[in-house]
């Protein structure tokens, strides 16, 4: 789905998504790394289970919410991908043990 302009000076980064090893480039956000790797959707919605992918890439749409190293509800577009990161799709509403409380405002 995405191509990358030639970039010989940037180091490769290796992380896992759903257990499979993927390659990204140093400086990529997690959301960008997944798009570059051809991952079609990174979460499903809590209500209808619809597949979603990043919409804004600047921290306002929250469509890139994802589980990183066991912590759900991370904004994938605001986290820089690192070697050895364990990234997982966020399916529906994350469970309590993951301890994210920053959802909703009422």
């Amino acid at each position: 789905m995405y191509r990358r302009l030639p970039d010989p000076r940037t180091r490769a980064v290796r992380f896992t998504f759903e257990g499979a090893t993927l390659s990204a480039q140093d400086g990529d956000s997690v959301a960008a790394a997944l798009l570059a790797a051809g991952i079609g959707h990174s979460r499903t919605t809590p209500k209808s289970g619809a597949a979603r992918a990043p919409y804004c890439m600047m921290g306002v749409c929250f469509e890139c919410l994802i589980e990183i190293d066991g912590i759900p509800n991370r904004q994938g577009c605001l986290v820089t991908v690192r070697d050895g990161m364990d990234v997982r799709r966020q399916l529906g509403a994350p469970g309590l043990p993951g301890d994210a409380v920053g959802e909703g405002s009422e």
Partner: protein
Amino acid sequence: MTRTDLAIIGAGPAGMEAAATAREAGLSVLLIDEQPEPGGQIWRAIERNTTHRPDSLAFLGPDYAAGRARTERFRSSGAGYWPSAMVWHLDSPPEGEKTVVVAWDGVTRQVQARAVLIATGAMERPVPVPGWTLPGVMTIGAAQTLLKSSGLYPDAPLVLAGCGPLLLLFAAQCQAAGIPVAAVLDTTPPGAAMRGLPFLPQALLLGWRTLLKGHRLMRVLARSGIPVYRHVRELEAHGTEHVERVRFVSGGQPVELEATTLLLHEGVVPNPQLTRLIGCEHRWNVAQRCFHPVLSDRGETSVPSVFVAGDGGGIGGALAAEHAGRIAALEIAEELGAVNRPSGDIEIVKARDHLRAEMAVRPLLDALYPPPAWIGKLDGDVPVCRCEDVSARAVRGAAVDGAPGPNQAKAFLRAGMGPCQGRMCGLTVTEILADAHDKKPDEIGYYRIRPPIKPVTVGELAALDGPD
């Protein structure tokens, strides 16, 4: 606990210029930003591109390359800088110090500041067309971010749809980088010349440089050979798991095109979250169809000692944001009795002149590229609130059921209650309710925003930094 004279939130043009100016005046400054690198959206990854991808400066253009001098000025200013830091609360009592609450590096930190400058900029207006929630549909700004930050671009066929300067700029950047664009769907309504005419003299007089830039971008698009569909309406994205095609009406004719990526853009609006959180007064801007915080000519909000500079206070673009950042910093330096401001007054007058000149072109742009009037008329299945899958029909239904404003509609429908906290649906819900009740958006109002305004883990809450 960290103490500073001035806390600035956002490292874009306004925030960086304010930080450098306030430092020159002798204030202690801490700049907090959620991105890993300074520059804001306009100068995303400017430092990395300068060192690692110098070729990219050529196709991203001179306005982008100009960001390098700005980040250098900021970096050498002596201002404190917390990148990748999430401001999730701002406590701003009318008197006394403000407290900025920040999740940074796994710990919640509290910053005590004598004054706060909110420089959180703009976001692209959400464009709720049918199919906009499909993977593969994103904003033009999102694709531009991928290009700037990672050198990534969407596979063919790529379709751009919308209206306004950013669409033209991105089309020109694609052209210069050799990225194929299958079609541009221009949603600008007919009659642009007539609409713009009354504002042309003022724009020509003070904003001719901006007009020239716009003209150049239009010429690049015209010569590119990219098919351009004019006066596009009734745009829809279709596909099962991912966008596959777009349908629309252009020149009265239905058109269908293949697309693996559809990029939308209908202008930018202030990012409202922080100014709403602290309850400052907002007003509806009719020409730009969005709320903005009410600011004094010093840049101060209705909450004392909390200032806004840049697009977060009303759309003016990067250069206007820098001037506003400078004005706010000089005013704050004055208010806090900073030691080093020998020619502060002259500097403020100069910065105000620059800001006025920069804003002169805005009424023309607003008239040429009017924000979509159809959003307030939405009905049917189209999702308005992406987080909670709430349709336009449901929002209209809530109005019939007696919801006078967004907060009641939220209680009825959960619209605005998901993780984005209304960032994606807030304006649309206000516009639909205003239409349904035949009232003005100012009468309808906006969501009440409550902390935390960013996801925070219990771990980050528990690891609160102690007193000094």
